[in-house]
């Protein structure tokens, strides 16, 4: 269990001190301003004592040193699109927004590298490198808005991680500010560096070890061509089996995404891309690579779909059509407002072959608790995303039922040999559930890494590790 943060400087005294330290223009501190930094893309909220808007590594370093000396929690924030409360200052303190550190510093075409500041938007990097025939592979669904700093913190994935890997596979160097303000550089443009793989340790550490101020990423040549198809199935079972059959046939598409009927309805209402509304389950499959042979692979995939009773199969005929299909899929979570004002999105991972039974369990669990669930997820990776809907305005009971459903689903994922989270991070949303997956000794080993970098426990406190206060309820429930 994590230790609580010792009480240090807070409130207006902190705001004034930071204004002195960084300059008034780099600090927000009025009640209305602070309220507007209490949320991100998920459910949990907490109001910070101050918001800092650094413009350089030196600013971040000065800020970290100050926080270290005055026992102030420090919580980095990219675009605030996260789905596990990573940017929520649950113990108060200062939120560090990277909105003003958003420059692409270098595009090194011959070495296939780019150096960026953390506030650069994921898609903006690929747009900037496209004229060179290059792109940044990880493409979280929020890629139009989310930042690369946030991607590094959460080790984000996306639909195309099936073939190409997640963020950590595409980051080779980091500049970091440690919790006492020390600036260190890890890795660089080279693929391998000597000593410990600290870049690997920091990617996915959710701001609990230090703050990233510069990122060196791999760029990848754009594929020569792509084929994108959607197939409609009578039920989610057939769609799930198709996924396993495609992989079993030795085909690794760049993406295989699945959607149920409820998710499809919200998506189609948002993009009008021609997603069939009457299907029980839909697969969106993309293959890419050299143009030669691409259509042979497509035909094989179509044949497998038909063998599993696909009613319609449609191949995107134009780039625009492909874009529309992807816009629908990538906007799926964001389209949930059409169905429900609040939702939990779960992120469990399971062995692909167990998809049909887990999806049945998700459905049963939702029915038993009386909550609606939509499914839209990375089927190829076995990374499910049940969207568990509720309405906070209806009081705590609905929220409780949504939470109970979440716990059941996550427990089932872990028991099936999977994990709690594939790409959204643990944050403050799943930290209480970590003991489902890790033995006390495993968690203690991770804890020693945290303590080595952040001995005062100020770096994004209350995340990743179970906390005594917030997790007590869950421990009691688990004991029952």
């Amino acid at each position: 269990m994590a230790t609580a943060v010792r009480a240090g400087m807070r409130g207006t005294a902190l705001v004034r001190a930071l204004q002195e330290l960084l300059g008034a223009k780099k600090v927000l501190g009025t009640p209305e301003e602070l309220l507007i930094y209490e949320y991100d893309g998920a459910v949990d909220t907490a109001t910070p004592d101050a918001v800092a808007l650094p413009e350089s590594t030196a600013d971040v370093s000065a800020l970290a040193r100050f926080c270290y000396e005055h026992a102030v929690p420090i919580v980095p924030r990219g675009a605030g699109t996260g789905l596990s409360g990573g940017a929520i200052p649950v113990e108060g303190g200062v939120v560090v927004s990277f909105a003003r550190m958003a420059r692409i510093l270098e595009i090194d075409v011959p070495n296939l590298r780019a150096v960026v500041q953390p506030g650069v938007i994921n898609l903006h990097l690929s747009t900037a490198t496209a004229p060179h025939g290059l792109y940044f592979v990880p493409d979280p669904s929020s890629q139009k808005a989310c930042t690369l700093g946030g991607n590094v913190a959460e080790n984000s994935g996306g639909p195309h991680t099936l073939a190409y890997g997640v963020t950590t596979n595409h980051v080779t160097g980091l500049e970091l500010v440690l919790s006492d303000g020390t600036v260190v550089r890890l890795g660089g443009k080279a693929v391998e560096s000597e000593g410990y793989d600290l870049v690997g340790t920091f990617v996915g550490s959710e701001g609990t070890l230090g703050i990233v101020t510069e990122i060196t990423v791999k760029l990848t040549p754009l594929p020569e061509d792509k084929r994108t198809l959607i197939a409609a199935f009578p039920t989610m079972d057939e769609a799930s089996e198709t996924v396993s059959s495609i992989i079993a046939a030795g085909i690794v598409p760049s993406a295989i995404e699945m959607m149920d009927q409820l998710a499809t309805q919200a998506v189609e209402a948002s993009v009008s891309a021609g997603y069939p509304l009457d299907a029980g389950g839909i697969l969106l499959v993309e293959i890419d690579g050299a143009r030669d042979g691409l259509d042979d692979v497509r035909e094989k995939i179509e044949a497998i779909c038909r063998a599993h009773d696909a009613s319609t199969i449609r191949v995107a005929a134009t780039a625009l059509e492909r874009e529309r299909l992807w816009a629908g899929r990538k906007g799926a979570f964001a389209a949930m407002g059409r169905l429900s004002p609040d939702y939990y999105v779960q992120d469990g991972v399971i062995p692909r072959t167990r998809l049909p039974e887990i999806l049945r369990l998700v459905k049963e669990s939702g029915e038993r608790h009386g909550v609606r669930i939509a499914n839209v997820f990375h089927a190829g990776d076995g990374n499910i995303h049940p969207l568990i809907m509720f309405d906070l305005r209806n009081g705590p009971d609905e929220l409780e039922r949504a939470k109970e459903t979440s716990i059941e689903i996550l427990t089932a994922c872990v028991e099936a040999g999977g994990s709690l989270t594939g790409e959204h991070g643990v944050g403050m949303e799943k930290n209480c559930y970590m003991p489902l997956q890790f033995a006390p000794a495993d968690l203690a080993a991770m804890r020693r890494v945290k303590d080595a970098f952040d001995p005062a426990g100020l770096a994004n406190p209350g995340k990743v590790f179970p906390t005594p206060g917030r997790c007590r309820e869950f421990s009691l429930a688990a004991r029952r």
Partner: protein, 428 residues
């Protein structure tokens, strides 16, 4: 802290519309003010959150911070295009402004200016025409320079406003019915607008000519008035409703296929009359029926298809989407199709064509610094294209971009799409 004031009246931002926002953040990168200011309170998501916190009693409806951030919104509605959940942000922000107006007090001077603009100038076309002509004359006589020389802040602001005006203001009186040439394909009623009618009268005449040449019979309705869009943007809901009722009444009984507007801002407002008057039992149905017939001139012509081929024009043209056409009315393809129909015209892509130029109704008057920053960004993008003409379809955008290009010493011309089509037809 003193007492928290709730929303003062029933025009408050709808909780139902607010609840559609799942705060995913996809709107952030499309918001021009977020791009410039970089803080969450000046993003669509942050502004919706502010509206929500007022409902929750955590922020007061008369809080200066609430007025500041809601006031800094362009109401360009780019966030609506970006939103997968279909949050109707424009309706929310206009509602929030109406509440700020009701909850706070203004100085005598500001009330005077508001009343002069909203009650006297905009709804009275003749008064507006005289005012426009006087202003244009003042501008040409170098009054802005004199105003600046006074060194007063108000003087500089007034100078900036005068410089927005074109070099001449035209008001053309159109016949009641402009017959279609050839077989009649459609019959329409034309909305002539306030600024369009008194400053860009030439464009109204051009609209009628271009429609007629393409087989459309055009009816000009006399008792119509200002559409009320500027009133609604500024939170003047009741004044906007009164104008809407007068227009609905003016066009009632016209057996036409469409009501044609050539100002994107007006069209967006008129398409929402049904919503504006939804709680007015006597008018709701008629207003909704009126709204369903409104079409932008470029939308209507694009959908109908040109019957007469324009004569060739050797120009490089860039198209800048008016926000209230693209985001407010979701009209994107038709204007581009019309441009593509002009032989010889070369289209050049304009970066950030879907971004606001900073005009945004009265924004360039109420938020001059931000408006200037956005205009400079627009001008820089235009200059990168090397276009001879920038084509758009809204009076505010025309004036704003024209003034920006003039200040930058650019030779690129700004023209309304309908005027360009008319030029092409008349050259033939």
């Amino acid at each position: 802290m003193t007492g928290i004031l709730p929303y003062p009246n029933a025009d408050a931002p709808s909780e139902e519309l607010i609840s559609r926002c799942v705060h995913c953040g996809l709107c952030l990168p499309t918001c021009p003010t977020f791009a410039v200011l970089g803080v969450e309170m000046d993003s669509p998501r942050g502004r919706i959150r502010l509206m929500k916190t007022v409902w929750e009693g955590r922020v007061s409806a008369d809080a200066p911070a609430f007025a500041k951030h809601i006031g800094q919104c362009l109401d360009c509605r780019a966030c609506e295009t970006a939103c997968p959940s279909g949050v109707e942000y424009g309706k929310l922000v206009e509602a929030a402004r109406s509440q700020i107006l009701a909850a706070t007090t203004r100085s005598l001077g500001e009330r005077g200016i508001r009343s002069a603009a909203f009650d006297w100038l905009l709804p009275h076309r003749r008064v507006l025409a005289v005012f426009a002509r006087l202003s244009v004359t003042a501008k040409r006589l170098g009054v802005p320079r004199v105003l600046r020389a006074t060194g007063l802040r108000g003087g500089a602001r007034l100078a900036e406003m005068l410089e927005l005006l074109p070099d001449s203001a035209t008001m053309e009186r159109l016949d009641t019915v402009i017959p279609a040439s050839g077989p009649v394909r459609a019959r329409v009623a034309m909305f002539s607008g306030c600024v369009m009618g008194s400053v860009f009268g030439g464009t109204n005449a051009a609209t009628a000519r271009v429609l007629a040449r393409n087989g459309v019979e055009v009816h000009v309705i006399r008792p119509q008035t200002c559409c009320g869009a500027l009133h609604a943007h500024a939170g003047e809901r009741e004044r906007a409703r009164e104008l809407a009722r007068r227009n609905v009444a003016a066009f009632a009984g016209e057996e036409v296929d469409a009501i044609i507007v050539n100002a994107a801002g007006c069209g967006a407002a008129m398409k929402e009359y049904g919503w504006l008057l939804k709680d007015d039992t006597a008018w709701a149905t008629r207003a909704a029926e009126f709204a369903s017939r409104v079409r932008d001139a470029t939308e209507f012509l694009g959908d109908l298809g040109l019957r007469a081929v324009p004569s060739p024009m050797r120009v490089r043209a860039a198209y800048d989407d008016p926000c209230h056409l693209l985001h407010g009315q979701r009209v994107r393809e038709q204007p581009r199709a019309l441009l593509a129909a002009i032989p010889g015209l070369e289209m050049v892509p304009l970066e950030e064509a879907d971004w606001c130029c900073g005009s945004a109704g009265t924004y360039n008057v109420t938020q001059p610094e931000l408006a200037r920053t956005l205009l400079e960004r627009k001008v820089a993008n235009i200059e990168k294209t090397g276009a001879d003409v920038v084509v758009t379809a809204n009076p505010g955008c025309l004036m704003q971009i024209q003034s920006g290009l003039r200040r930058a010493g650019s030779r690129t011309r700004v023209v309304h799409l309908i005027d360009l089509l008319d030029e092409a037809y008349r050259a033939g």
